[in-house]
Symmetry: C2
């Protein structure tokens, strides 16, 4: 059994939404705030949209990559990390029809997804949520936290990933930028 | 987005339940019948238990193995395949903490999971449903269909899989045997 989180955009939440940008396909509505909590928790107030995702097992990382990531990745909710981004992504049917060895080859050997991410540690904290098996509109929800002075680095990280062959298979991507609400 | 099915044990259903056997961990209750349908469909009558799983992408198969499987595996609902088995399985936390290359090595290079399955094609039709990300009590629900004269072969298939190193990580497994109801 896995832990499922809901990201709820609406009137209230721990994070103020600063911008919502459609990077590929249909975007999402702008709303004042984003709340993050266990899926079972009921959202209060007007809900603009709600996305769900599960902390699941790794799908591509080798033991060496997992060890490297675990050694270097920071925790969420560091005091200085007052900026965040939520990036929901959906990949195409062509991606999901690939075999495991083909997806791994594009993900890492060609596109260096993990290797690129490692370049931005420990500045950028990250948590990946899997949504595809939940019948959600996106396949993944990735949550990032960083200090304001690292936002330009974060933009470079995104630009590098979007330039990879893996991103040819991304058919929908939304970039939601947030600032931690001081009053919650 | 993925297709999610519900397996509902109760008074009515397309399949008569002949036996429910706990192979590892807690078993499930015996009930007269099993219905299989889209998750959204509401179950009617008394429900003994209900398990949900999603048709997801392959997790370990290489392109060569996928091609081999697709060439040789039969469709579900063949007229002669009046016997079926539903095998819900849950693997341990130790399994899910392994990296992708470690799980693949145990699954195929050591335990020959796909290779063993191929030995029983085209007699045994199979459909795998993923449940772990749905927060279900099992990680996988595998559905098998075969003609009565192939039940002994199917038993050999299970015995060979249960003897593998992969099965050291199976902490719950139930074996549900069924016969197609002629009247539905």
């Amino acid at each position: 059994m896995s832990e499922t989180y809901a990201f709820t955009a609406g009137e209230h939440g721990q994070w103020a939404i600063r911008a919502v940008t459609g990077a590929a396909g249909e975007s999402l509505a702008l709303a004042p705030a984003l709340g993050i909590g266990p899926d079972a928790q009921v959202a209060t107030g007007g809900v603009a949209w709600r996305l769900r995702g599960t902390l699941s097992n790794t799908r591509y990382a080798t033991r060496a990559e997992m060890t490297d990531l675990r050694t270097r990745q920071p925790a969420l909710m560091r005091a200085e990390a007052t900026c965040a981004a939520l990036i929901p992504i959906r990949k195409s049917a062509a991606w999901w029809d690939l075999a495991q060895d083909e997806r791994r080859a594009i993900f890492e050997e060609t596109s260096h997804h993990t290797a690129i991410g490692l370049d931005y540690l420990p500045a950028v904290a990250r948590r990946l949520h899997h949504s595809r098996d939940l019948g959600e509109p996106f396949d993944f929800l990735t949550w990032f936290e960083f200090a304001p002075e690292h936002e330009a680095d974060f933009d470079r990280l995104l630009a590098r990933l979007r330039a990879t062959r893996e991103w040819d298979y991304v058919e929908r991507e939304v970039d939601i930028r947030l600032i931690r609400n001081p009053d919650i």
